[in-house]
């Protein structure tokens, strides 16, 4: 062979290239195959788990269905209690406010009339002498108004006058 000729057929390169391709390809295949098997196994395990949960769910539902009446009773009780709680939380306390106002009226006064709703309460009281009015207006009324539970926002003296039997005072309690 001359010096300037190249013998391609005798080159050892293909054998080396073949080995270079085969080994990593095989290794990658093994890794991917193992990963695939692992993932498939995991999916199978999960599916079995899901199927078991579905079975449990059906079994429990069946047991609950057998006690449908008891379940309905509990649900009705819960629903009624929720309604009752809502009513108790939002209903007015007109009776409480009126009772508190009446209790504040001195014993020697007579209550001529009370008219009330959830917005305001009008009270008419009378007495033989003027003596009790001062302490009632100066002490009892402010104490009532300061009681936040009663929700009194304003107290107005509508009229005060002398009648044949004594003195008559009309008050209006405005509620929040």
């Amino acid at each position: 062979m001359k010096e300037d000729e190249i013998n391609l057929a005798a080159s050892p390169a293909p054998k080396k290239t073949y080995k270079v391709f085969l080994t990593p390809s095989f290794l990658i295949f093994i890794i991917i195959f193992t990963v695939g098997v692992l993932i498939l196994s995991y999916v199978v395990v999960l599916k079995v788990n899901l199927s078991s949960l579905a079975f449990d769910s059906r079994r429990l539902q069946g047991q609950i269905d057998q006690q449908e009446q008891k379940k309905a009773k509990i649900l009705i009780i819960s629903e009624r209690l929720a309604s009752a709680r809502k009513i108790l939380a939002s209903r007015n306390h007109l009776d409480l406010v009126v009772s508190s106002i009446i209790q504040a009226v001195p014993d020697n006064f007579s209550i001529e009339g009370i008219v009330g709703n959830d917005k305001q309460i009008s009270l008419s009281i009378s007495a033989d002498s003027l003596s009790g009015f001062v302490s009632f207006l100066a002490e009892s009324i402010p104490t009532l108004a300061q009681n936040k539970a009663l929700g009194i926002s304003k107290v107005t003296a509508d009229s005060f006058g002398e009648t044949q039997s004594g003195y008559l005072l009309s008050l209006t309690f405005t509620l929040r």
Partner: protein, 215 residues
């Protein structure tokens, strides 16, 4: 020329195995592994839902099993007496009579507007807290002003639950406008409800209060 060509094929035959292996690898990735991620996601999500469902069902079953029939019946009576499912005039009359007896007064005339009995007309405008009510006008006689006011206080401690809307006390007579609450039972909603939670301590306290007012 033929010899040369045959030589080339022999040379590339050696690469068939690694190429086939690579193709199998790609096949495993594309056809087997990648779709599993989507299946995995769906399955995990389904498992989570099922676990929650089983947990709810377990809790429901436990609540149902632990509830005693006698207590349940008594609680049902008290709670439906507090908020009746319909316009029960006899319960209202009973409450008014009891309040009058407890306050030492006498129940005079009373009237109520029953309104619709069945169908859309039966859906009366809601009262307090979106709960429908039946409005009753009652007159009470006897005793003094304090007794007449006590009538309204006594009524607040009786069932069905009520609210005094207006009062007018003059001398030994008083007139009251009272709302008695009721709420129709939504049977469809109840039958659809899957989860049954046990009564909370607040529920038990309220139930105890209602039982006290039921006496």
């Amino acid at each position: 020329m033929d010899t040369k060509h045959s030589f080339d094929i022999t040379k590339y035959k050696k690469f068939i195995v690694p190429v086939a292996i690579n193709m199998a690898t790609v096949f495993i990735i594309v056809v087997i592994i990648l779709p599993q991620f989507s299946i995995l996601g769906d399955t995990l999500s389904q498992i989570k839902t099922q676990k929650e469902k089983v947990s709810d069902l377990n809790s429901t079953l436990s609540t149902i099993v632990s509830a005693q029939d006698l207590t349940l019946d008594s609680s049902l009576t008290s709670s439906t007496r507090a908020v009746p499912t319909g316009k029960d005039v006899s319960l209202i009359f009973s409450a008014l009579s009891k309040a009058a007896a407890a306050s030492g007064t006498e129940l005079g005339e009373f009237s109520l507007t029953v309104g619709g009995i069945f169908g859309r007309a039966a859906q009366i405008a809601p009262g307090v807290g979106s709960t429908p009510s039946i409005v009753v006008s009652a007159s009470v006689k006897g005793g003094d002003v304090k007794s007449l006011i006590q009538f309204s206080s006594e009524l607040q401690k009786l069932l069905p639950l009520s609210q005094i809307n207006r009062l007018n006390v003059s001398g030994d007579t008083a007139s009251f406008e009272i709302s008695f609450f009721y709420k129709p039972l939504d049977e469809l909603k109840i039958s659809k409800q899957q989860r049954v939670a046990p009564l909370s301590q607040a529920d038990l306290n309220l139930l105890s209060q209602l039982k006290e007012w039921e006496q």
